[in-house]
Structure formats: C-alpha cells, structure tokens
C-alpha cells in the first residue's frame, strides 16, 4: 500500500494553547478514516494543517511524499466545517461547484466544466438547486454543494470536516453511500471528522481518536475499547462532575 499522508511528530499551537500534541501517523492509500474526538480536541486543526491553512509549530507532514506547500491542490478535495457563509456575496450553486475546478472565481467556464459540475450535482440529487442563489439554500443543501465542489476535481484525498452536520437522515445515508460508491470506483483516501460514532463505525475502515493528543489510530475493529473512549473524553468526564445547584430566590 502506498503512503498518502505521513505525519511526523506534529505539534500545532495557537499561542500557548496546544491543539495537536505530538502526532505521528501514516495514512495508507484507499482507507476511509473517521476522526473522532470532543469539541476543541483539534480535529479541524488537523485537517487544516494537512491542507496548509495552518503552519505546524514543529514536526512535518508529507502528502504523496511532498511537503504540504508543494502539493498539487487538484489532488485534495476539502469540505470545511459548516460556518456562517457570507450570504451577502452574490453567487449561484453552480458557481461554487465550478470553483472546485477552476480554483478561482472564473467569470466564464467551459462547456466541459459546466457539464462536469452538473453531473456531480446530479449524482448528489442536487441538480434542481444548481441555479439557486447560495443564500437560498438550507444548511444541508449547502453541505451537499460543498461536497460536490470537493468531488468535482476528482481528488485523490478527501478531507471532510463534519460534512453531515445539518443533513437529514435520508440524505446522510445517501451521503455515506455516495462516498462509499465513489471510493469503490476511484482510488481515494477519505479523512472525515464526525461526531456520529455509529455511522463512523459502519462506513469507515479506520478510526482516529484524539483529544489534542493521539489516543488511537488503526482499524476500526480495535478502536472502541473502554480505555480508548475514556481517554478520548477524559477532560469532559472531569467537567461532568461539576454539579449545579439552583439558587433560591
């Protein structure tokens, strides 16, 4: 198996706050990795560091043997964690998908690119929203558009940051089968941050548990031991011990 992503002694800090504490992992081609951990455990930071959006404090990341800044962006599809889209920006669904191909905001696109974009929207059952304004979309529809945008460039690596947030159950099942289908037809390595442990277990091949430090990385069968789960949520468990008392007025 080819090594797609190699992470060596990675430390990422924001000021004094350690988001990623000494990670060493090697991701092999073709795996579907679910990344799990509590809020603030560094999951998004990990994806962003792989993308080159955040510089490591120390350690290094290699993608297909190259350093992050030398990687061809066409190889990587990215679905960011849902955030407040700038709804004042005038843009259509199809334009956002096309940006995945042109890597800018082209004012004209070739017929071929348009066909590609429409085809991927069709596969995601979203063809009817192709010419809607982004501000007219629901949260779930928007997530699917971002997924379409990441897939349209036929990436070798797919980085998904909680892509199913806001997507309804039928769509989510659909979402996962799309990913699984896509993975069967293409050689693709998927890294998906999620809070849905059940669906992670069903659809992924590998699991990464983290809580700023690395707790578990490997095949899914050995992932969910009591110890691993306890360690992943250790500081949360601690916080849960706090008891609240109602003040009498």
């Amino acid at each position: 198996m080819k090594n797609v992503i190699e992470i060596e002694k990675l430390i990422v800090k924001y000021g004094n706050n350690i988001a990623i504490d000494d990670f060493t992992i090697t991701v092999e081609e073709g795996i579907y990795l679910a990344i799990l951990g509590p809020n603030g455990s560094g999951k998004s930071t990990l994806l962003k560091t792989i993308l080159g959006l955040i510089q490591p404090t120390s350690g290094f990341i290699k993608i297909f043997g190259n350093s992050v800044d030398k990687v061809n962006p066409n190889l990587i599809g990215y679905v960011p964690q849902i955030k407040t889209l700038d709804k004042t920006f005038p843009a259509l669904t199809i334009e956002l998908v096309l940006s995945g191909l042109s890597k800018n905001w082209a004012f004209r696109s070739s017929k071929k690119d348009k066909m590609k974009a429409l085809k991927i929207l069709e596969q995601l059952d979203s063809i009817d929203i192709a010419h809607l304004h982004l501000s007219e979309l629901s949260g779930g529809q928007l997530q699917k558009v971002y997924l379409a945008r990441s897939l349209v460039r036929s990436p070798k690596i797919l980085l998904l940051d909680e892509p199913a947030t806001g997507v309804d159950f039928v769509c989510e099942t659909n979402f996962n089968s799309i990913l699984n289908d896509y993975a069967e037809q293409n050689t693709i390595t998927i890294l998906m941050v999620t809070h849905d442990w059940t669906s992670a277990y069903h659809h992924s091949t590998h699991i990464l548990l983290m809580n700023n430090n690395l707790i578990y990385f490997g095949t899914k069968d050995n992932a969910f031991t009591d110890d691993n789960i306890k360690n992943t949520f250790s500081h949360l468990a601690h916080k849960h011990n706090v008891t609240f008392t109602l003040k009498e007025q």
Binding site: P73, Y78, D86
Partner: protein, 267 residues
C-alpha cells in the same frame, strides 16, 4: 444650451467621469463585498494630505501624493498585524492624522489661494490634458487587473480559506488590492474630490448588488451604473447650475434609496 453641453471643458468632464466611474465602480465591488468602505474613505482623506504636501513642496502634487497615500495604507496594514486594536480604529486614527497634516501643509503654503474646500468636491469642470492622460492610465490599469486579478480577488472575497487551500497567493493579492485602491483614490482625489471618490467606491456597487445574482453581474452592472450616473449628473448639474460632485452623489444616493425601497417591497 447645447453649445454649453458640448464645450471643451464639459467634454473633458465627460471623459474624466467615464474613466473615474469605470475604475472606482469596478474596485467598488470589492470594497462593498469586503466591507472596506471605511478604508476607502480613510485613504481618500490620506490622499488629501499627500496632495497638500505636494503643493507645499511646489511639485506635481500627484508625485508626492501617491507614495504618501501608499505609505499610510501600508502603515494601517502593518499596525493591524502588530496590534490588538481593530482595523476600524487604526483607519480612524491615520486618516485624521493625514488629513490634519494636509490642512497644515496648505496653510503653510504662502500665496496659495485655493481653499481646502475645493478638495472636498474636486474640480471636475477644470480638467486639463495631463489629468486625462493620468486618468486614462488609471483606467487601463484597472482593466488590466480585471483580467489578471478579478477571479482571484473574487474567490478570496467569497472564502479566504478555500482560496488559500487552493494555493492562491492570497496575501500577495490582498496587497495588490490595497495598493490598487490607494492608487485609484489618490489619482481621483485631486480631480473629483474626497467626498465623491468615497461615494463612488460604495454607491454604484451597492446599487448593483441589489440587482445581481452573481458577482460577475454585480461587477458589470456597477461599472455601467458608475459611468452612466456620472454622465447624466454632469448634464444635470450644468443645466440646473449646481456643483457637479454633489449632484453625482445625490443622484446615486437617490437611485440607491429607491432601489432599496423597490427591493424591500418585492420581498
């Protein structure tokens, strides 16, 4: 009346407003979508300081004003990265500073008759050949950035993170954008005034935004609105004998407010 509307100085004014309208309304779409209108306003005031310094030093004001304005815009960017103060505060401080310096420079200049007031509204009806050449170069530069930078600027305006992930040189592009804005503003200030350039950077783009579904539509519409409203206003201002700059702003503002009202009642 027809003679007046086709006399030489009016023809120059038409030409000037087309060139300024094109450049400022084009950059205006980025000013509006990136919420930079206060920066635009601040740079216009800073440019006044530069022009005044040029007058004090007895040179072509533009040669001094360009580096002066760019320096101020770099200072704002530099302190924004180094300090915990907001952009808004820094712009406010630097633009008052530069503007006040400008007033002092002009007052130090002996035998200078033009008052500071003429810089507020410019002097679009007294434009010469050199002015037109400089404005044409400016419009040419704007057109160049349309082909070279529009798609990149638009992408990082929409989502900075996606643009960085796709390896666009976003930091570099942002510097080019602020430098371009400084240039457009400083060149226009001498001719059309501080107030007019600030509103030109916001009003046409804001009107266009109300009628556009894509950013490209918005850009084209903004440019058209900027040029046409300028031309109509010059004719109007001559016919009813009112200050041109003020007529342009009032005219554009009225279009904006009417559009706002129409769009609101459609929702």
């Amino acid at each position: 009346m027809i003679e007046l509307l086709t006399s030489n100085f009016i023809l120059y004014a038409y030409l000037a407003i087309i060139l300024v309208g094109f450049s400022a309304s084009y950059f205006g779409v980025f000013v509006v979508q990136r919420k930079l209108s206060f920066l635009g306003n601040g740079l216009a005031h800073a440019a006044f300081g530069g022009v005044a310094l040029g007058i004090l030093l007895d040179t072509q004001p533009i040669y001094v004003a360009i580096p002066f304005t760019i320096l101020i815009s770099l200072l704002i960017t530099y302190f924004k990265e180094k300090s915990i103060l907001s952009n808004d505060t820094l712009i406010g401080v630097f633009f008052s500073f530069a503007f006040a310096l400008g007033i002092i420079f002009l007052s130090l200049k002996e035998n200078y008759t033009t008052d500071a007031f003429s810089y507020l509204f410019g002097s679009i009806l007294s434009i010469n050949n050199t002015d037109i050449i400089i404005l044409a170069l400016m419009a040419g530069f704007s057109l160049f950035t349309f082909f070279k930078f529009w798609a990149r600027w638009a992408y990082s305006t929409f989502d900075n993170e996606l643009a960085v992930a796709d390896r666009l040189p976003v930091r570099f592009d942002n510097y080019v954008l602020s430098l371009s804005l400084s240039l457009i503003i400083v060149i226009s200030v001498k001719i059309i005034g501080i107030v007019l350039i600030s509103s030109y950077l916001v009003l046409p783009a804001a009107i266009a935004r109300l009628y556009s579904r894509t950013f490209f539509e918005m850009t084209i519409l903004s440019i058209i609105i900027g040029m046409v409203s300028g031309l109509i206003s010059i004719v109007l201002s001559v016919l009813i004998d009112l200050p041109t700059s003020a007529v342009i702003i009032v005219f554009q503002s009225l279009i904006f407010m009417t559009s706002l009202f129409i769009k609101k009642s459609q929702m």
